[in-house]
């Protein structure tokens, strides 16, 4: 059976896996974005808190993904929970770091002007600082998503959802006639998903970055 025949006969299974993969990454990204931006907002004003947040999330990222999931299984069990937790933690670093950098990069004279014309702290954050920091934050989200696409494949190790299952099945049955096809289908599927997500981010950028600061 060649690769195209394989795709033809297994397309239903593959589409289901791809959908689950995308859905897992998407949901984890939403959580990571909310948590990451909140951490950024809370810590950017102070030097040490900002650095602490960046270093902590950077340390999390250095834990090998297989090890992280392995460590989570005894605590939260198999399946979806370890996948979601691991993906969310991995997704934090680019978002936290870019939020802090973006918020700190807002022209101080604009912050001064916002306060000077009578904006409350919250209004200043929501109406001036976050919109101006949004382009770098969005870049962080984009980088994060690309990374999670790959890492999510490891989730199959903990019986998690996604295209990783295809890859692991192939690796487990190396030498059999469909092994290569399985690995190839999983990998290419992930690449296609990553490209689709990236295209979506370009669109989101066009829609959400105000015209006045679009490059």
């Amino acid at each position: 059976m060649n690769f195209w025949e394989y795709l033809g006969s297994r397309h239903q299974q593959l589409l289901a896996d791809a959908f689950q993969h995308a859905s897992a990454v998407f949901q984890c990204m939403v959580v990571a974005t909310v948590v990451g931006v909140v951490i950024g907002v809370v810590t950017y004003r102070s030097d040490w808190a900002g650095n602490l947040a960046t270093i902590t999330t950077a340390t999390l990222l250095t834990i090998p993904s297989l090890a992280m999931i392995g460590l989570l299984i005894p605590v939260v069990g198999l399946g979806v929970p370890p996948t979601v937790i691991a993906l969310t933690l991995y997704g934090l670093l680019p978002i936290v770091r870019n939020s802090i950098v973006g918020l700190r990069g807002v022209d101080p004279s604009l912050v001064d002007a916002a306060t000077g014309i009578g904006m409350s702290r919250l209004a200043r954050l929501v109406r001036v600082e976050l919109p101006l920091a949004w382009p770098p934050i969005l870049t962080g989200i984009r980088v994060s998503t690309q990374m999670l696409m790959g890492i999510a494949a490891i989730a199959a190790y903990a019986s998690g959802p996604g295209l990783g299952n295809e890859i692991f099945r192939g690796i487990a049955s190396l030498g059999s006639k469909n092994a290569l096809n399985q690995v190839l289908a999983g990998t290419l599927g992930i690449i296609v998903l990553a490209l689709l997500f990236d295209a979506a981010y370009v669109l989101i950028g066009r829609l959400t970055i105000p015209r006045g600061i679009r490059v």
């Binding site: 604009l110 002007a113 000077g116 014309i117 009578g118 006045g212």
Partner: protein, 429 residues
């Protein structure tokens, strides 16, 4: 005094009610800012009283604390000591967010939010103080008009699509949008080119003529201070007031070496900027128009006793200077005779402009014109010299009188304090 204070408090509370809203008094009472970890205060006990509708310029070398002083008025920097009263009301401890909505604030490089359109920027404060949508929208158009930008064209633009001068205008429009009685300006024209700066200054003078806000303006440019200020406070380090007086008084009678050093060379020349051509004597010159018959022109020249006569065009505008011999040499043709008038000044021009024109003119005089360019008179070197002499003499007398008054007030005050009366009662007034 107490009456005007009561009125302005009322104005401030309503958030302004249209064009006749005037400024509020500002009183700084031993205002002090001390930063932790530094021995000397950044601003040391500033006392200042700014009248309603007055434009006061704080001027001084960089690092003298003038900006800090300004930012303490809207409490962007919290004072560590002293009091601020605006329109008689003590605002030292009121909610700073509410306070700032009643105080316009314009800063260097405009401070416009780049992600909002011009209209959104201007509408920010009216929205925050709860104006209705239609009222805000009307106000935005009105403000754009006020600062000389076409509402239809600039309404939807983003700040980066504007020139530096236009951004600064929008910055001022935003500061004035909710009609605050007080306007603080922190070196607002520091980042634009000299020509634009000049325009913006003229514009501000015009605005202030219409609006009568209380404006506190910070700059390090003494010429700008002279041009704009009703009164100027020259500050030295720690915001100590070296002199607080009218531009005329500071130019002619600087309080000490620091002030005269800051005024710089050419005080008399700078003084010329403060007087307009309409304030000096404009001499009348014999004139003829191009439609007059030649014979009459001859007669007039002969009868006038002066060497020259001014030829006006059909609309009464100065056209040519005619000398006695000119007509002869041109064989009676007006088209060829005489020298063209190439430089005129209006009655609103400063004496400096007039002097400039007189100096470049080969005969040392310049024609003064009215609003539509029509002839109104002539100013020459001699008139200018005389006026300047008189002006400086008058300034000197004023300054002496003023100093005398101050000293008298001071002795009176000391006497009161020694008698143990006056202090508390006066503070309340």
């Amino acid at each position: 005094m107490s009456e005007t204070a009561a009125e302005t408090v009322e104005g401030a509370r309503e958030g302004g009610g249209g064009h006749d809203a005037t400024g509020a008094t500002i009183r700084l009472e031993s205002l002090t800012k001390r930063y932790p970890g530094s021995a000397d205060p950044a601003v040391d006990s500033v006392n200042m009283e700014i009248n309603a509708g007055e434009l006061v310029v704080l001027v001084g070398p960089s690092g003298c604390g003038k900006s800090t002083t300004l930012k303490m008025i809207n409490r962007l920097i919290e004072p560590t000591g002293g009091r601020i009263r605006i329109g008689g009301e003590d605002v030292t401890h009121m909610d700073p967010v509410k306070l700032r909505r009643k105080i316009g604030y314009a800063i260097q490089s405009s401070g416009l939010f780049p992600h909002m359109t011009v209209a959104q920027n201007i509408g920010l404060v009216p929205k925050m103080v709860g104006w209705s949508k239609t009222r805000t929208a009307e106000r935005i158009e009105e403000m754009l008009d006020l600062v000389g930008l076409d509402p239809g064209e600039f309404h939807g633009r983003y700040p980066r699509q504007l020139s530096g001068g236009q951004q600064q205008r929008v910055g001022v429009a935003r500061a004035l949008a909710a009609d605050p009685p007080v306007l603080l300006m922190d070196e607002p024209f520091g980042a634009v080119d000299p020509i634009t700066r000049d325009h913006l200054q003229d514009e501000l003078i015009r605005l202030q003529h219409e609006l009568h806000k209380t404006i506190v303006f910070v700059t390090h440019d003494f010429d700008e201070a002279i041009k704009l200020g009703d009164r100027i406070a020259v500050l030295r380090e720690q915001s100590h007031i070296a002199q607080f007086d009218t531009p005329e008084a500071i130019l002619t009678n600087p309080a000490d070496d620091f002030v005269s050093g800051f005024v710089g060379a050419g005080a008399a020349l700078k003084r010329l900027n403060l007087t307009r051509v309409r304030d000096v004597e404009i001499t009348d010159y014999p004139t003829v128009t191009v439609d007059d018959p030649l014979q009459e022109i001859f007669n007039k020249i002969r009868a006038s006793g002066t060497n020259e006569i001014l030829l006006l065009d059909r609309r009464g505008r100065p056209y040519k200077w005619l000398r006695r011999g000119d007509l002869m040499r041109a064989r009676g043709s007006l088209a060829r005779a005489g020298t063209l008038v190439n430089d005129t000044v209006t009655r609103d021009a400063t004496l400096r402009d007039a002097l400039e024109a007189v100096l470049t003119d080969n005969a040392g005089r310049v024609v003064v014109t009215g609003r539509r360019g029509e002839y109104t008179g002539v100013v020459d070197m001699e008139t200018l010299m005389n006026s300047v002499q008189e002006m400086l003499e008058a300034d000197r007398l004023d300054a002496m009188e003023h100093q005398h008054d101050l000293e008298e007030a001071r002795t009176e005050h000391n006497r009161h304090e020694q008698e143990g009366v006056g202090g508390g009662g006066e503070g309340e007034a």
